[in-house]
Amino acid sequence: MSTEARAETFAASDWGGGVLPYRVGHRKLGMWLFIVSDSLTFSALLMGYSYLRASNNWPTPFPFYPSIVFATVMTFCLLSSSLTMVFGVSASSKGDQQGARKWILATIVFGVAFIVLHLIEWNHLIHEGLRPFSLPEHWVAAFNQADGTPPSPLFGATFFAITGLHMFHVASGAVYLAVVAARIKKLKHEDVEISGLYWHFVDLVWMFVFPLIYIMSVDIGGHLAK
């Protein structure tokens, strides 16, 4: 075997040009890089939230109903939407474009259900008096510490910013999937797979938002019920 032929077997030959070193197309690699950068955006927001929470008297106002029940059903919707999306990508890989379109539409339905439930939940909180930079008066009274330290007014800012940015991602994902479903006959399988990557990422982010924002803010002591 010549030296040149042996060189073909080296892993380094992947990086010599003329091949796709990751064995994925440039668009799919681009989506992965976007997901990495968006992960850092959400990480920074959640770290900022955690910083504020650790350095303040932080209110824990969420009752079982409606907040936790709604958030749990929303989680179910997103997880189910990921399942239908993966079924859509699977159907697309087999060349079943109609099946892929059907599953993508089911994914959009779950995504829209998530947004509707989230907006109802926001409406509850806004109606109660929560604003980005102030708390409802009865929350302030309930979560005032014994030494008179009031609860941080930034609860609303972190809640609306993080859940709002996530909701924006879900909404733009639903539009993206609608375009993919409408143009599925003109698109390649890889395009469907890339849209699936984005949708699963939105689901993944919620796996951290749900426990940090909702579960860690459950009103265990029943402060607001007193």
């Binding site: 992965w32 990480s43 910083y51 650790a54 997880l79 399942l83 999306m85 993966v86 087999k94 990557l197």
Partner: protein
């Protein structure tokens, strides 16, 4: 790429994906259950983040298909992201310091002239 080649590339059966979905739901139910168990905040936070990392890993590995991609792609994406996120933890000592520096009210805050007018 032919349809056959793509089918080979998209590994994982629908049955496998349903199992992953079921596990994700079970872990979510465990998180909600934990929310109402009396325990220290640090302990609960550790368990919740552990469960979230498991859920995220399941989604990335199976739903996002990274488990079936080339190792070079995984090594390009994952360690760098984990390292960057871990670096963000550098801020926490400052947040704890900030909490301790906060003015401790020994008695209710004094009522000022302007607040009396309201």
């Amino acid at each position: 790429m032919t349809a056959h080649a793509e089918e080979e590339h998209f590994a994982g059966s629908n049955k496998l994906f349903m199992w992953i979905w079921a596990w994700l739901l079970i872990l979510t139910a465990a998180e909600v259950f934990l929310a109402y168990r009396p325990m220290a905040v640090h302990f609960m936070l550790t368990i919740l983040m552990g469960l979230s990392i498991i859920k995220a890993a399941l989604i990335v590995a199976y739903f996002m298909h990274l488990k079936f991609e080339r190792l070079s792609l995984i090594l390009t994406i994952v360690p760098m992201l984990v390292a960057c996120i871990c670096l963000l933890f550098v801020f926490f000592p400052d947040s704890f310091r900030s909490f301790d520096l906060r003015y401790k009210h020994k008695e209710p805050p004094p009522v000022t002239q302007s607040s009396e007018e309201h």
